[in-house]
């Protein structure tokens, strides 16, 4: 019997909302799958498209970027630049034929531990049937 596929996911979380939201999920002892390695950044606006390409290139099966809801950004509007920039990244990756499920963005506030948990659960659930991401993975 083959073991169930466990996707490797990188989640870029903004410090002020999404990382705090995931901390809240922890404090509330909400359980979610351990497939995600979080990387805390200051703002979703600081996520360069290169990070996302690089994560897929280095073998991520999925990438999540999570920031503050519009209007709540600690830096006023960083998340709104991110929204535009990452919409283009998503369209580009999909134009290439990458499964749309693999790159995801979410707004998670510091109070939304429950939502963060759900975002991770859904992402893992959606990625499992896709199997490993090999399209952009470095094949050396």
């Amino acid at each position: 019997m083959t073991e169930e596929f466990e996707p490797k996911i990188i989640a870029f979380l903004c410090k002020w909302c999404s990382s705090a939201g995931s901390d809240l999920a922890g404090v509330s002892r909400m359980e979610y799958p351990p497939n995600v390695v979080p990387i805390q950044v200051m703002c979703s606006g600081s996520i360069s498209p290169l990070y996302i390409f690089s994560a897929f290139n280095r073998g991520a099966d999925g990438v999540l970027v999570s920031g503050c809801h519009p209007g709540d950004c600690h830096y006023i509007k960083g998340n709104l630049y991110a929204r535009r920039r990452l919409a283009l990244v998503k369209k580009l990756l999909e134009h290439l034929g990458l499964e749309p499920q693999r790159f995801r963005m979410s707004w998670v506030s510091a109070a939304e531990g429950q939502k963060y948990t759900q975002v991770i659960k859904d992402l893992v659930r959606d990625l499992k049937p896709l199997g490993p991401q090999t399209k952009l993975r470095r094949n050396v």
Binding site: D23, R58, Y81
Partner: protein, 648 residues
């Protein structure tokens, strides 16, 4: 080779219950550049901190990762511990393996490798961390307050009484704002001028306050603690030191224009005293209306002025000042008259706005406190007050509640009854909002003692018929149509941001909300701060508010300003953006995205103002060529972290 120390906390069983800390420590100790990896039951305890400090000294560690709870909890603890042991605080980073790992997983075989990856990624980051020291800048220990109404006066007095110099800038010729126009104030009915003039005098005589009336802020540059401002001082053509208020000039002046102070209910001359208690107490020549300033010389006032206070040759001056903090208290104006055409404001002489009615009730007003119809100078027997004229009407007018109208309408109806005992006052209202100390009792008094008749509903139309004003409305409680033959109608007009406040906000780079009021940094927790560091908000410029609220916010803003002015130097986190000039082509994309105006182009290359930069990194993601990087979270570091997080 790097010498990184990794310290893994058990947090009792909080971490160790789900993460095999020993195994993680063994794995991490094998990582390149890791000099040691140790675990301990409570890393944040004194023995735990000592363990780290000892290892820094003994092993000569050049960087430290503490794998424990969220950095929001103990980052400062461990950075301080590192600093004490001689390691730069910014060479210590936290790997969150509790909230983001052990607490959300149950299976140790899965939580353990995840914790290891989080730590490895943090190790990669810390190995590229720069040694940083907090940025410090000197502070100019004086403030500027913009707006000379009650909020601006209060803020200035609080600052001055705390020992700081204040430049108080007011665009009109006198201090006082709208409050000085009011008759009596709710809920105590004390005379507005009686309580305000002492404060105006105090502000004008205060040795720490430099009063600049008839002046406008032209330009502001710099940053918190170090603003440079340019103020345009318009000439009044009358030397206040010489003017003895004899009124001879005004008597001979041939030009009559509507008097702003009485909202057009009276006229004034081109040379005039703004109002009897004006501060500075001096006449002022209105250069938009005076013929002497044009080639055709009239010169009448000049000739009658015995103290020779008048000088037509004065020119506007630009005065430059340096301040450390700015308080914006630009106040409000009433909603545009033209927009309330359905109620006949501006069309029928006996339809007044709230401020005009205030002037009429004022003992120093156009009727010496008598309530008389402007059309025939008769006492009105039936007066209709209409609340929410322009407020709470998202379709046609302002969506917001102007907040003070319920109270001042009750007061005005009450004052009317005190003047005209046998008259009848009607108030059309949507809701009565009387939250505030003694406010509800005040409204009850208007109804019970003064017999004011409240009608719940909206007025559809006001029109003149003979010498009466027909008011058509609906009483939504009884469902009946109401028609009143009124002698006078008073509109409680919506409050909107003061004329010119929007342009000023642009100069100060302050954000506005959707209604044009100045936006606060946080609606609940930072209500007197603007989004720009070092600039604070007070009074109705931020949102409609009554006098006690404006005064409270002004004192709050003054106190916030003092948190800056009381420092010799300001300290700022050093994790800010830095330019990589050899890669920059000067395209300016980062300049455009920076929320803090912290980036500028100089000689075609990017330059970061470290004091303004908050380190968000939006510039870093926008730059196509890695020419701007946030210290200790560079693209290089992110690259390594991504690799480590994916296991190699």
């Amino acid at each position: 080779m790097k010498k990184t120390g990794v310290f893994i906390c058990h947090c009792g069983i909080n971490i160790a219950g789900t993460v095999d800390v020993k195994k993680v420590a063994r794995e991490l100790s094998q990582q390149p550049g890791v000099a040691l990896a140790e675990d301990y039951v409570y890393m944040c305890s004194d023995p735990g901190q000592n363990l780290i400090a000892q290892a820094i000294k003994d092993k000569g560690l050049d960087s430290v990762v503490v794998a424990c709870c969220s950095p929001t909890l103990h980052e400062t603890t461990f950075r301080n511990a590192s600093q004490r042991a001689g390691l730069n605080a910014f060479r210590c980073e936290i790997a969150n393996i509790r909230e983001q790992c052990s607490w959300v997983h149950k299976d140790m075989s899965k939580a353990t490798p995840k914790a290891a990856q989080i730590i490895k990624s943090t190790v990669k980051r810390v190995q590229k961390n720069e040694e940083l020291e907090p940025i410090s800048v000197p502070v100019t220990r004086r403030a500027m307050v913009i707006g000379g109404g009650i909020a601006g006066i209060q803020a200035s007095l609080d600052l001055a009484n705390s020992g700081y110099e204040v430049i108080l800038v007011e665009k009109s010729p006198s201090l006082g704002g709208h409050m000085i126009q009011l008759s009596e104030t709710f809920p105590t009915l004390d005379c507005s001028q009686c309580i305000l003039t002492p404060k105006m005098v105090e502000a004008s005589k205060h040795p720490k306050i430099k009063l600049m009336t008839y002046s406008e802020v032209q330009d502001v540059t710099g940053y918190v603690g170090n603003f440079k401002v340019k103020i345009l001082k318009k000439p009044t053509y009358v030397d206040p030191a010489k003017c003895n208020l004899c009124d001879e000039c005004s008597k001979v002046c041939p030009i009559v224009v509507p008097n702003e102070f009485d909202l057009g209910l009276t006229g004034r001359r081109a040379i005039y005293l703004p109002f009897p208690q004006a501060i500075p107490a001096s006449y002022c020549l209105d250069d938009k209306n005076c013929p002497s300033l044009f080639p055709v010389a009239c010169g009448k006032c000049y000739h009658v002025c015995k103290p020779k206070a008048i000088n037509y040759d004065l020119k506007p001056e630009i005065i430059e000042e340096e301040v450390g903090a700015i308080i914006v208290a630009t106040g409000y104006d009433l909603y545009d008259k033209e927009k309330m055409a359905e109620y006949g404001l501006g069309r029928y002489p006996d339809v007044l706005d709230g401020l005009q009615f205030e002037r009429m009730c004022s003992a120093s007003g156009p009727t010496q406190g008598k309530i008389l119809r402007p059309s025939d100078q008769q006492e009105p027997q039936e007066v209709v007050f209409i609340q929410c004229s322009g407020s709470r009407d998202p379709e046609l007018h302002c969506a917001y509640c102007s907040k003070i109208c319920c109270m001042y309408t009750a007061k005005q109806a009450m004052l009317y009854k005190h003047h005209v005992h046998d008259g009848q006052a009607y108030i059309f209202y949507i809701d009565i909002r009387s939250g505030g100390k003694n406010y509800e009792e005040f409204v009850q008094r208007a109804v019970e003692e003064d017999g004011v008749l409240y009608l719940r509903g909206k007025v559809s139309k006001v029109f003149q018929e003979g010498d009466k004003l027909k008011v058509w409305g609906a009483d939504t409680l009884s469902g009946k149509k109401i028609e009143i033959d009124a002698d006078m109608v008073v509109l409680a007009m919506a409050m909107r941001p003061a004329q010119g406040a929007q342009e000023l906000a642009k100069k100060l780079k302050l954000a506005l909300d959707k209604d044009g009021f100045l936006a606060e940094a946080h609606p609940k927790l930072r209500p007197v701060e603007s989004v720009t560091a070092g600039m604070f908000l007070a009074g109705a410029a931020q949102a409609p508010k009554d006098i006690p609220e404006a005064v409270a916010q002004a004192s709050g803003a003054a106190c916030k300003a003092i948190t800056i002015l009381s420092q010799d130097r300001l300290y700022h986190s050093p994790t800010v953006a830095k330019a990589v000039k050899n890669l920059c082509t000067g395209c300016g994309m980062c300049v455009a995205v920076c929320p803090y105006d912290a980036i500028a182009l100089k000689d075609g290359k990017v330059e970061v103002n470290e004091v303004l930069c908050e380190g968000c990194g939006t510039c870093q993601a926008t730059c196509l060529r890695a020419a701007i990087q946030v210290k200790n979270l560079t693209q290089h570091q992110l690259h390594e972290m991504i690799l480590a997080s994916l296991g190699g």
